[in-house]
Assembly symmetry: D2
Homo-oligomer: 315 residues x 4
């Protein structure tokens, strides 16, 4: 397929797209689950029906504790108790640890709460950003997803489609490429599905080492903002990318994170960041299928703006 370079959206086009994709009010004025509402009991039954070989595959990146260009504030992880002395209580002995982290780092697999992103003063469903203070969010926190994200996962493997190891930083995936990937893999996204979107970001990282993917760095591959119309029309429940779904540089003028701005405040979409699919693609190829059950759950953290998590694919 011939790819023409993606033209950036103008601000006016972006605003129009925001309104087109908006789910405000769709599930009531106080809804806090967004596109998770698309997941019907039937979706979950059907997802469970995909379980055949019983293989399970993590889609999380092992947590990276070393500072680097995509990990400027690495987590702290320390032992609390080792086995060097016996506890006063005697046997058995215990070892324990302590862990501290931000959730939204560029190389840590995490979910976003719907409060995580605001646009022009508004969160999803039109709630004001002032509902989130230093004391934390008063609504739309991560506990809205406490009972888990369960459904059919559909992997669209863009490097596979293009016949490359990975998409290069800056590459924007258009709607027609998502559709081409569907055809190539014999799948079709439908209501309540979890779009597992692979650009090869993590593969590139494994082979070339980490880089700064941010606006002040070398960039990353992701979706063109207009491709979100497909996710909207198909009623996708969740978006699980490697990278974070964005192209950097942005493909919308003056909006550095257009995908986040559209997915979260406009669509109320359940979004995750920085997954990895290197183990997953091997299993998909072996099983010759790109659909599977997905189960995932954020930590049940009141006031969380997101959560580290470990989503699992079940075949």
């Amino acid at each position: 397929m011939k790819r023409t370079p993606a033209r950036p959206l103008s601000r006016r086009e972006f605003e129009k797209l925001f309104r087109r994709l908006s789910n405000w009010g769709r599930w009531g004025p106080d809804d806090d689950r967004g596109t998770l509402n698309y997941v019907t009991p039937e979706c979950i039954r059907n997802a469970a029906g995909l379980v055949r070989s019983g293989r399970t595959v993590s889609m999380a990146v092992p947590i990276n504790k070393a500072a680097g260009p995509d990990n400027p504030r690495p987590p702290a992880h320390y032992m609390v108790h080792g086995y060097d002395i016996h506890w006063d209580l005697g046997e058995p002995q215990f070892c324990t640890d302590y862990f501290a982290s931000e959730f939204h780092g560029d190389c840590h697999t995490h979910m976003d709460a719907l409060c995580h992103v605001g646009y022009r003063g508004r969160l999803y469903n039109g709630k004001p950003v002032s509902s989130v203070t230093t004391h934390g969010p008063t609504l739309l926190d991560i506990t809205a997803f406490a009972h888990g994200i369960v459904g059919r996962g559909v992997l669209l493997d863009l490097p596979r489609l293009r016949g490359v190891k990975w998409l290069e930083p800056g590459d924007a995936v258009m709607r027609r490429e998502l559709e081409a990937a569907e055809r190539a893999q014999g799948v079709r996204l439908g209501q309540g599905d979890i779009l597992v979107f692979r650009t090869g970001h993590h593969r590139r990282r494994l082979e070339l080492g980490p880089w700064n993917p941010g606006p002040d760095g070398e960039g990353r591959a992701g979706l063109h903002a207009t491709a979100l119309t497909l996710l909207h029309e198909r009623r996708i429940a969740a978006f699980f990318p490697d990278g974070d779904g964005e192209t950097v540089p942005s493909n919308a003028e003056g909006i550095p994170y257009p995908i986040h701005a559209l997915q979260i405040p406009a669509m109320g979409m359940v979004c995750a960041d920085s997954l990895q699919f290197e183990e997953l693609v091997k299993v998909c190829e072996e099983e010759r299928r790109w659909e599977f059950m997905v189960t995932a759950a954020p930590l049940r953290l009141p006031g969380g703006t997101g959560s580290l998590f470990n989503p699992v694919a079940i075949f």
Copy 2:
């Protein structure tokens, strides 16, 4: 059923039980997955086959950030960015947070890594406790469970069996009571199952407020050590209790945590602590069934001695 008070095990009986329950070498000298090996593809397929109504239920306690008798070192959770000023990048805006915690607190739903408990200098499979230092474990860390715990969950609801709201601190559940609960609920534990073991610990906490359940406190209800023979014979894969499975005071002389000492170093059992089933029991009663699919995954943290997590039941 008449319950006679549980007699504590003598040290000699404990040692004998340790050897009887031991799985050392069963899956090879370097196995690090323990009883997770019991989970066959068929187990996972059958678990998925239980999904009918598509309801999902978290079994995690909302993370408690206030110090209390069962939470002496509460997690730290702070905002990093609020919406109070715009980022230099302009729209959209983001809010983020920071979270720090120990994993093994008495009121935080978490998994134990197999390195978490040693007995007489040995971890599961006979590995030396010296393999865990202040630099962290060199083997048997939580990443052994990175691809998730998936299988059939079977709830044994002891307060339901006894017709009480909760078991009182110190109460020991014997093997015959587990079997009685199976009969009362029409289920039978089998290979690869996840035993969801309810004492009502969390219900008591909700109604009476928190207490110190440790050896220096008011105690807790749990399993009698001899009841583990049932889990062993039935080839249970994982143990998900409210509380932590122990009775306090201990039911083994001179061993303050006999259940941990037997489950983890001897059996290599996948264990979690401090779940809650208050939402779960309602669904079980409504659906009139006490078996369901369970999916759970720890954070993929190299060197972790455990992990906070959010296990989910799917009906």
Copy 3:
């Protein structure tokens, strides 16, 4: 001396007192050092001139890592490296640790930055509270005191004056009692001095155990708001109390922290909290003097709203 119960200030009296004590503009519109400006070179020379016996005494409470009624979010302190294994580098070996804390806890000796307290939307010198966001303060942070607090310390020992072990929670010290303590101890507060104000809070804690001294707890002894006129007239540079200077319940109607509201936003006073003088009073009694050199410095933390610190008296 007969003490009549302190009458609470009305809101109107409080506002009047706020204006009377205000140092806004005294050292220029952009001053960020407040009453530290009172410390002249001569003050420091004179303070150094008090050094005779060469004894040094810490006025900090040992950092308390156990949760308790006055320590609801205790600091985290963990080993990072022990000596359990050799570093790859061989000899020598190192042990290191990790420490995490809030600064403004009720039982941790700390300084307040001038940004720490706002009143009716204004910080010291009339700066808006909006200058402090989740990104931290943009002015009046703790680095304004980076070059240290050095001067003459004058201990006013109120339990000594009253002939009691400690002042009881709720007790308010009036101006005339401060003056009586001066006379009893043969000292007189003057420009640039550091007022070391002892209520016996820490002594009470050592003898009776910790309690919650906050507005939702059992209270604490401190200054009556009107006593600040003495500190103002004498041009005190800094205020180092055990407790935090406040009485709880408050002695100003509708203002739970009147001392903080007057000292910091109105006066720009260098304030610390939660010191202890149990070692200090012994040395004062032995040396028969209640004046000494004080040296103290906060951590040099850009954006700090305060700092743990360890102030030292030199005799």
Copy 4:
């Protein structure tokens, strides 16, 4: 002065030097204050006698929160409360923060406890390294210095002596250069003094940006191990360097940190790391003197292996 390249010490010479410099037993078998014992009341009186102009100067580096080659695990510093909403209590309002850090980072001004360094299984005074576990040190922790480090500071400014902006990584300062600096500056180190040792490390960092000064990086300038004989003979109480006193590469064969290994386990010397003297040197030049009063105190942290701190020079 002509400088010949420093020859590395052989292991045998190092061991001999270790024994020569050892203070084990000098102040009794259970002493935990090491060279702080050299500070007599007269030392402190004399130090106070140096206070004339009343200027105070911090010798701490502003705490650096950005990851970099000398800051691989930067501190975490977050707001806890901002002014974005009123506290339930009403006026006044408060802002607070949270801070977490290791103490021994290469760019953070900190003290070392005597337990921080062991050599061949022994700490200062021959105590075993096994006295420090994951539970922390049982002796020789930072609280041994709780009452402060007070005395005469003597700056030896090596770049000034050599007529350069800074010493280059790898440069070793010999004893004769310390003596030459004394002569050039008209000072002489004596008992109980605090040696303020300037290589220009921080100046280089300010001008060229940060680098990795460790054994796996670009190195640093410091003392030749044999120069410690001067510190020993003169009975120096404390050593406050920019950098950390070490040359990297090491000037002792097979010993990557010979200065630490000699100063701390052998000499029991009060050592700090990573100070900066850029403000100090300006004042010294203006006042035409390189001696001044120094006051410093670590946080009073039980079990601390060190402490961030902010040492102050008073002129």
